[in-house]
Each structure stands twice: as structure tokens, then as C-alpha cells.
Point group: C2
Chain length 162, copies 2
């Protein structure tokens, strides 16, 4: 007669996720957690840890000199107040500069600094490597597919299409 093993009544590997098992939202949200942690680890001490916000802002300002905060805000799906703080922070770190827009007194234009440009180069490498490492197990073909689908969802959600 086999001895009854100890251990939890429901070992992790065997637990069913109820309806979440088939829910895209659940997986996106869970993977997001792991993804963000992994990315943060790799950005250790780089003035740009935590959140998609800083990275995206840095890269956008670098590749679009004079871009406006409100435009970035929409792309990273944050409200203007959050965006403002983000900009403040990056200016403190001397990654970007802010100046009034010449043709619109309400708006600002953001520009990259030397330090920001240097960081942007590093961050590009890290971000792309991180993503490909993280999804390394996913077959090439599936990755492409995933990218296409998610890009579409993102663009629609951010209001970039139509």
C-alpha cells in the first residue's frame, strides 16, 4: 500500500487556471509581470529603470528631435500629468531638454542630450536583446505572427489607425 505523500493538495503543475486558462488577458497580464521584471534587471542602474515609459520616451526623443510630450503620452498610454513627471525626471538626469515650441505657445519640444543619445544606443541593444531572449523558445515563425497581431492590437488601442 503506497504511502500517502505530503505536499500541497494541489501541486502547482497540476492546477488548472479555471476560465483564465483560455483568456488572452490573463496571459498578457501575467507575462507582462515577468517581462517587466526581466527588463528592469537588465537596465540595472541605467537611469531608465521601471516602466515602458522611460525607454520609449528616450528612444522617441532621440529619433524624433522636437517631438512633443503629448504625442509621446498617447503612444505610451499615459495621461499628461504622468508624462510631465516623466519628462521632469529625464531632464533631471540630463537625458533630454525641454523648450517652448516656436509656433505654439502651449506646447513644448523635446530634444536629446549627448548623454541621452549615448544611453539610447545602449537601450536599443538591451531592449531588442531582452525581447528576443525572453521569447527565444517561441519558434521564429510564431514570433513573427505574434508581432503582427500584437502590433495591430496596439495600434488600434492607442488610436493610431483610422
Amino acid at each position: 500500500m503506497p504511502v500517502k505523500k505530503k505536499g500541497p493538495p494541489y501541486p502547482v503543475e497540476t492546477v488548472g487556471l479555471d476560465v483564465l486558462e483560455d483568456t488572452l488577458s490573463f496571459y498578457i497580464r501575467s507575462i507582462n509581470i515577468a517581462l517587466s521584471r526581466d527588463l528592469d534587471d537588465r537596465l540595472e542602474g541605467l537611469d531608465v529603470a521601471r516602466g515602458t515609459g522611460k525607454i520609449t520616451t528616450l528612444l522617441l526623443v532621440d529619433s524624433h528631435p522636437g517631438i512633443r510630450p503629448s504625442v509621446i503620452a498617447q503612444l505610451i498610454m499615459r495621461d499628461r500629468s504622468a508624462m510631465g513627471r516623466l519628462v521632469d525626471q529625464m531632464i533631471d538626469h540630463e537625458l533630454i531638454t525641454r523648450q517652448a515650441a516656436p509656433d505654439d505657445g502651449r506646447a513644448q519640444e523635446l530634444h536629446i542630450t549627448q548623454k541621452g543619445a549615448d544611453l539610447a544606443r545602449k537601450v536599443r541593444k538591451i531592449a531588442t536583446k531582452q525581447s528576443s531572449d525572453f521569447f527565444a523558445d517561441v519558434p521564429e515563425k510564431d514570433q513573427k505572427r505574434l508581432l503582427d497581431i500584437l502590433r495591430r492590437v496596439y495600434r488600434r488601442t492607442a488610436g493610431l489607425d483610422q
Copy 2:
């Protein structure tokens, strides 16, 4: 000679996302934001707003009577301390109960309450509907594919395979 239009130097629709354009991480992280907001809206006042954590916990406790906090923690990718607080909160709301595990003095077993079970029923409906609404634009076939791929990534990340 055409008059020079006002407006931002880089209108949102035309801004390229630099290397992020092809980075899975970026899309996952961005979509996650929209997804979470949408879900929170739909959970308005339901004792279970904010975070994948509460929903998953509720459903798991409901479908696995006696499940342990540490098992759930691993599935939702949180540390034990975060999980503990989550449990406290749900007990305060009288959604679940906690008791010592009979066979292991260190462990606990969680059980659903009537109120919790009722809520679980509602939440199942909301969560599945939310996900399918949100991804309604994605063709059925792509959704299946997405689900398969993401499920695999999740299971690997959460350490459920092997």
C-alpha cells in the same frame, strides 16, 4: 505655395517607434496597460478591482478548495509577502477563509465563502467577456494561435513545465 500647417512636428499617427516597433516586449507591456484599465473599469466596485492577482486567487480558491497561498503566488508571479496581503484583503472582504493545513504546520489552506463563490461566478463572466471583447478585432484563427503561444510562454515562465 501651400500654407505651412500648424500642429506638432510629428503627428501621432506617423511617429515610428524606433526599435520598439519590432519588439514583442513593447507591445505586451503597452497592451497590458490598456487591458488592465479596461478590466478594472468592468470590475468597478466588485471587491476585486486592480491586478490579475485578486481575480486569479478568487477563481483558484473557488475551483480548488484548500489550495495553498504559495501555490497561487507562483501562478500569479508574486512573492509570498504580496500574496499574504492579498489573502488578508480577501478575507477582510469575506471572500475566502484561511485555516491551518492539517498535515503541515507551516502551510495554510484557503476556502471560498458563499459570498466569494457568488462573486466568482460574476467574475468568470466578466473576465472572459472582457478578453473576447478586447480582442474582438483579431480574427478567430489568430486568437487561437495567440492563445497557444502565450500559454506556452506563460507556463514556461511560471515554471510549470518540466
